[in-house]
Amino acid sequence: MNALYIICGLGIASLVAEIINFKKWFVAVAGVGVAVAAVIAATDWNSSTHYFSEMVIIDNFSISFTILICAIGAIWFWMAHDYFHDETHVTDQSALILFALVGAIILTSFNNMSMLFLGIEILSISLYVLAGSRKDSIFSNEAAFKYFLMGSFATGFLLMGIALVYGATGTFELTKIAVYTSEHHAQLPGFFYAGVLLIMIGMSFKVSAVPFHFWAPDVYQGSPSAITAFMSTVVKVAAFAAFLRLFINVFSVVQSTWLFTLQAIAIFTLILSSVTAVFQSNIKRLLAYSSVGHAGYILLSLVTGSAESNGVIFYYLIGYSVASLLAFAVLIQLEVKDKETSIDDFKGLFKSNPLLAVAMTVALLSMAGIPPLPGFFGKYLALSLALSVGYVGFSIVAILTSLVGVYYYFKVIISMFQEGGDGKTLTLSSSIRLLLFVLLGLTIVVGIFPALFQVI
């Protein structure tokens, strides 16, 4: 809980910093502050407590996701230093990022439907603005607008769902809903099930699962890359935390209503994302579809409905986030102002900038699921979970799609190791070099010692 206070405080401080003209160092302060918040969150480990008349619950589930979100946030501030450098409204932007983090943390620890709604809105509204923060770029504007429209649409579904569930159970509180549904299992009105499905659709929008993924490629492409990195990591982690809490802990009693739909969503997400990704030449769109594909894998372990899926998904998200951060850290360095980056722009990268090429290669190999990198273990755990409950067909589809994944990730890798390109060596600041090494090290540690990170 203290982590939440700290980040809220930092957000407000960020707004004040504009007035007292403390802009130069604020980004660094915010990064360190978020890292401190992660440490403080860890001190609550094993203490299951409620706050605000049981609206917020702090248990190991929420703590581990909070730590993950804060850690990603801290690394993000490190990575996005240049992004702030170019901005005129540094403190506004950092405040928005901090508030988005607050929303994300609420999504990991809500125990009340209204908190769920608050969390999603705090997270999303900050991001709508951030997506459009390159005000002079038409793509950025398009991204913000699309994201806003689609996001509000999804929120509409979510609200409707919450209202219906409330109507059926008479409460917003998750624990009470769970108790009520298991006690009155037979007498639940039809609209309760409709409510559950609507909530599921709303959440599927947020995790960009097929067929609710259409916003993702456009928004990823149009937003500034640093913001895209934030979206593809923090937002995914938070949305899946909420998804898990709702569907594994609360609605597990009525599994039969949503299981089939979610299975279908998972399958379509896996197939469609990988097939579409093959045809992308813009690297950000490629990463967008790849992130949709990863959502498919996570949904695959979610639909097993097994208690172990929490741990598996948590590990998967760690591996995915580290690889994404690494990929975006490289991408941000390569980007030329006001120009789209395509796969061809990676040509000859290994010759001219070996560190960037190696970092990108490791990130892509991990996403492609090559051992011993975290992406492999994540997929392995998901598959093994799916097989343990007898989803053989599912697993085969998942394996085939990850083979297709190898194809499109390797397009980028092959391009990097080819001749060509302008051969220009970029000068990397020592901070970015260090960041790349830290992320590479993290990737390898997470990959080789998966047991350390499967805490829940």
């Binding site: 070996p354 090559i370 011993p372 492999f376 755990l381 097989l387 390797f410 092959i414």
Partner: protein, 490 residues
């Protein structure tokens, strides 16, 4: 301690290379691989074939999932580890010439590859085996991608996807078996054996195919060989050597260590199919080799033929078959290393691979021609060369299995003699032509590489007993597991 050293030293050396980028990375890598060779010789010295546990280590890795870092050493593993550690220094040393890669990345990747290969041959945990198996693919992929010849992007990608697809089938098979193991599930090799043996015949057949596909693609066995010739030709010669001399042994080793004892009924059911595929491969590849105009491609196809014979021998499930396979793996590794090196030297001196464009080399380079001849005779399995021992045992086992198949398989030797000697005659004998006019004889560095290899070809051929004695207890052990199980079923 020695066990950990032999697995992780190449990794440490590779990391040191990547981090410190010594100016002379070749020499550093060479020294590192020599140290590894010394360590492996120490293991040979300390090795006691009768006890299996001398060099085994087992520590939990991911306890919750029954995955442990479990490695061990028996005769078969030892011979293959030895093959790896002996050939790697030669591969590195053979790149000391001008025009060869100097980059620390190149040598770091070779060392990484060595680590993964040693790991594959020593792993006694299914999951660990899989991880090393895949890890071996990454360095070789980048070696071929960065230093390969024409069309390397497309060719290496085909190779990568092929082998990866095969391994994914193996992963499914492994997972399936894992869920059949008792208690909290485990990937321990003996548990997997038991799990596999407890399955019904039809289940064993599925597992057989899941694993066989992975191994067959790696070796490669007909009809899964289509990636091989292009990849061998496109790869830099060091990559070709790694692929053909060591890496393809992973597939055969996998058959012996994992497939046979795990699903004996599946092997009984489908073994004859595998033998027939292998034998078709022998004839098919030999026929293509007969009409090859490119000498590197010719050796690539001859390699398919030889491997086909080895895999057929393994599936006879007899002691001589498997013993023959083990010794032929070693011999094939040494011989094919020598052949690809000679081809590289020819290319380097004449700038062409075409057999018809070279002739009369012997007149200018008699030592070169003699060394080529000895290694080539090893390849066509003349008595008193290394190839003979293995092929004799393998063909013998196949004749016992079925006289027809035995005779067809014996064609390898005849056809092999035809295409190999034809290539030799074309290039080495006859009149000196434009391309061989200035053909230099072996330099000192090349002699340092080729003389020991030639010597090995002869020594293994004349006195194979130590190698056979080393692998015999291990082969007996595996066959005993199979026969005990078969007896219990019937």
């Amino acid at each position: 301690m020695l066990t950990l050293f032999i697995i992780f030293w190449p990794l440490v050396a590779a990391i040191l290379l990547f981090l410190f980028r010594p100016a002379n990375s070749r020499i550093f890598a060479f020294a590192a691989s020599l140290l590894e060779l010394i360590a492996s010789l120490a293991i040979v010295y300390l090795f006691d074939a009768s006890s299996i546990d001398t060099f085994s280590i087992s520590v939990p890795w991911i306890q919750k999932l029954g995955i442990s870092f479990s490695v061990g050493m028996d005769g078969i593993s030892l011979l293959l580890v030895l093959l790896t550690t002996v050939l790697t220094p030669f591969i590195i040393f053979s790149s000391f010439g001008n025009g060869q890669p100097k980059s620390h990345t190149f040598y770091g990747l070779i060392l990484l590859m060595q680590m993964a290969l040693v790991g594959v041959f020593m792993a006694r945990d299914g999951f660990l085996f899989y991880v090393f198996w895949e890890m071996a693919l990454i360095p070789i992929y980048f070696i071929c991608l960065m230093w390969g010849g024409e069309n390397r992007g497309r060719v290496t990608f085909k190779f990568f996807v092929y082998t990866l697809a095969g391994s994914l089938f193996m992963l499914i098979g492994l997972l399936y078996l894992y869920f059949q193991t008792g208690g909290d599930h485990s990937f321990d090799i003996n548990q997997l054996y038991l799990a596999g043996q407890s399955l019904t015949v039809s289940e064993q057949s599925y597992i057989f195919w899941a694993f066989f596909l992975a191994f067959a693609i790696k070796m490669p066995v007909f009809p899964f060989h289509t990636w091989q010739p292009d990849t061998y030709v496109t790869a830099p010669f060091q990559g070709t050597m790694l692929l053909s001399a060591i890496m393809l042994k992973m597939g055969i080793y996998g058959l012996i260590r994992w497939l046979l004892p795990m699903v004996p009924m599946g092997v009984e059911q489908w073994g004859s199919t595998a033998i027939i595929l292998s034998v078709i491969g022998i004839v098919y590849a030999s026929c293509i080799a007969l009409v090859q105009k490119d000498i590197k491609r010719l050796i690539a196809y001859s390699s398919i033929a030889h491997v086909g014979l080895i895999s057929a021998g393994v599936f006879t499930l007899t002691k001589i078959g498997i013993q023959g396979a083990v010794i032929q793996m070693i011999s094939h590794g040494v011989v094919v290393f020598g052949l690809f090196y000679i081809v590289e030297l020819i290319l380097d001196r004449t700038k062409t691979h075409a057999i018809s464009e070279i002739s009369g080399v012997r007149l200018n380079a008699p030592i070169f021609a003699s060394v080529f001849l000895i290694i080539l005779l090893g390849s066509i399995a003349l008595p008193f060369t290394s190839g003979f021992v293995g092929e004799f045992l393998l063909i013998n086992s196949l004749i016992q299995y079925s006289i027809v198949i035995g005779i067809i398989a014996a064609l390898t030797t005849i056809l092999g003699a035809v295409y190999m000697l034809r290539a030799f005659q074309q290039t080495m004998l006859g009149e000196v032509n434009q391309n061989s006019k200035l053909f230099l004889d072996l330099t000192t560095q090349e002699k340092i590489v080729l003389y020991p290899i030639t010597l090995l070809v002869l020594v293994i051929g004349i006195y194979p007993t130590p190698l056979l004695a080393l692998s015999e207890p291990a082969v007996n052990q595996i066959l005993m597991i199979v026969s005990d199980y078969m007896a219990s079923v019937k």
